[in-house]
Symmetry: C2
Subunit: 385 residues, 2 copies
């Protein structure tokens, strides 16, 4: 397999973009990544998108987006793994380059979520859970993650304030990100007094509904060294794993097995350990998710995620800053785009381009992107050469 | 890149399977392929599906299907390119094995299309076209292919009877396939007197709505030689290309540029010519599609597809039998499964297992699978070693 580098990244300003369509925001982000990468052509494309069928009545993004970028007849594939669709696109692009099939590959993610009315977004998102056994019985995602939160609180003494601190930290980070949807700083009191969604989770424990896209350009490391004028960032490890789709089939609600397995594989492939990671972007779709994930990635011991967050360990300036971009919570969560946007943030950080939210001397970064209630997970480890 | 073989194939009996769910039919097909391949584990999975979100309210098939096969935590990806989703899954599996990332890969396709009511299936299928510029103006797929048919008739003198002959031939072939949805033989008169859908296309020019799945097991050629007890079939060439999603952006309605480009790439990679192909499975979603496609694949000159069909050249016993399985027309067209089912048929033929529809001494086969009105196309060339 060939070594693979990321030579360009780009994303649009995320938010409720009623004046733009799915194709508009994808093309905007793709052109930013192409410009950033300084490439003059693309050999192949991968687009992560969870449910453009339900959100905007459009499948076949492979044809649509290659077309609107003026890139047909190049091969283009849409890939889907619920909220991990973006991370999956990065993996597919990696394999395409590593195998030698393609040299310069555009990987992107997109979701246009605000064009549906009523409970359309909640319904579309629920299709990431087990329709026949979970959704038909009335469960939606806040409820599923609330079950995890209650389990974690019961088993490890995680507190309401520790959950809130995840949101407070990520909004603090997001306030430094000009592309974030909700850059407002919030307090613990704001979170704990916000309206209840699914006990114990309140509205400020939940990531928002967002329109957004993010893209990256991958190529062989050798080629990157020749053509790139920026610090070279290499994809050092990839882990991809699945878990049961339904929560009721799992032995333990306080751990996410797909994250554990994907991390194991990524660490092994990259030949690094959790303590070698300088910063991470993780899937904080709900505050409890970040707490469980930083444990499952091995940054802290099982059960200590809440305490670690409260201690400032995962804040900018802490031992291992997590979600410097603002995370899903503050930056926004256009589900198919999230996994690629995580890579965009890490690349900016490793290149020293993260402005006010820069992590000093960041050399190795990790992304963790998961679908549904953790039924699928992608972990990427990237390193500045 | 490593050479890649297909060592197992399987598909369920297609039809209107109201008593089975999407997960049931996929698992049924996957177990048949695993048994046929004689493998004791799977390293990675790809599932092609066009729109389980719209058809059954279920995305995140990666997690669901790995789960229901008892295969988690293995990596699994759902891929989508409208009706070319199955072909795309085969390509992704090929790259995964070729790159060295995985050894034994399950590739499958599935669609459960009969659970929607009213015009639900027509709506779901329309999402493969350009929603904003085609569908909002009232065009659906029979209309788009009718435009191609009218163009081809006008430009090349293709006749109503030649279109009908595609359906007659494919139903004749399908009558020999125990897994086909509509194995009934039909006549030219049946087709030309069936109800009009979009002039000149009548209901018997159109492929049906189907529930079905199909799967195949890929592995490195070297491994196949060690473990397989059946004739070894190698993937010799892959071509994948895109075209504009909307018909109005094309210069010519009588050719499908993604098919032309994908075929060029596949022939080049396989180092073969159209005249080397012994049989083909092509995407006859409408009768006109098969006529245009056999021209674009180079089996006949542009404009002569109708005449060639009428002459028997593409029938069993002809120079190059096309759609011996019955094609989409008679076997059925569960959109995400079709591209994999094409591979299933070719593998059975190359191994000499096709029973009454066996093509004598078949050594090299080709599959052509396209999405929407040809906005994406996958071509695979496979050879018995």
């Amino acid at each position: 397999m060939r070594d693979v580098a990321i030579i360009g990244v780009g994303m649009n300003k995320w938010g409720e973009l009623w004046e733009k369509s799915l194709r508009d925001i994808f093309v905007e982000s793709a052109l930013l990544a192409i410009e950033d990468g300084g490439v003059d052509h693309i050999d192949s494309m991968y687009v992560g998108c969870m449910s453009s069928g339900l959100f905007v009545g459009q499948e076949h993004l492979s044809s649509l987006l290659a077309d609107y970028l003026g890139l047909n007849p190049i091969p283009c594939a849409r890939v889907e793994s619920a909220c991990a669709s973006g991370g999956l696109a990065v993996k597919m692009g990696f394999i395409d380059v590593a195998s030698g099939m393609s040299d310069i590959v555009l990987v992107g993610g997109v979701e246009k979520m605000t064009d549906v009315s009523g409970d359309g977004a909640t319904y579309a998102l629920s299709t990431a859970a087990d329709q026949e056994y979970e959704v038909y019985n009335g469960v939606t995602f806040p409820g599923l993650y609330a079950l995890m939160a209650r389990s974690h609180m019961h088993q490890y003494g995680t507190t309401r304030e520790q959950l809130a601190q995840v949101a407070v930290k990520n909004h603090q980070h997001g306030s430094l990100n000009p592309l974030a949807q909700f850059p407002q700083k919030i307090t613990i009191e704001d979170v704990t007094s916000s309206i209840l969604v699914a006990d114990p989770l309140r509205i400020l424990d939940c990531s928002p509904i967002t329109d957004g896209a993010a893209c990256a350009i991958l190529c062989p490391l050798d080629l990157a060294k020749k053509i790139s004028k920026k610090p070279i960032v290499k994809i050092k490890g990839i882990g991809h794993a699945t878990d049961t789709i339904a929560l009721h089939s799992r032995k333990d609600f306080t751990t996410l097995n797909a994250t554990v397995k994907a991390a194991e594989r990524a660490y092994k492939m990259a030949n690094v350990k959790p303590e070698d990671i300088d910063l991470a972007e993780v899937h904080d779709c709900f505050t409890i998710a970040e707490i469980i994930v930083i444990e499952d990635l091995g940054f802290v011991k099982k059960g200590e995620g809440g305490k670690a967050t409260q201690s400032g360990m995962t804040a900018l300036g802490g031992k291992i800053p997590v979600n410097t971009s603002g995370g899903l919570k503050s930056k926004g969560h256009p589900v198919g785009a999230t996994g690629v946007a995580q890579v965009v943030e890490i690349v900016h950080q490793l290149r020293g381009e993260a402005g006010q939210r820069q992590v000093k001397n960041a050399k190795i970064g990790l992304t963790q992107n998961m679908g549904g209630s953790g039924g699928s997970t992608l972990v990427h480890i990237v390193e500045r050469m």
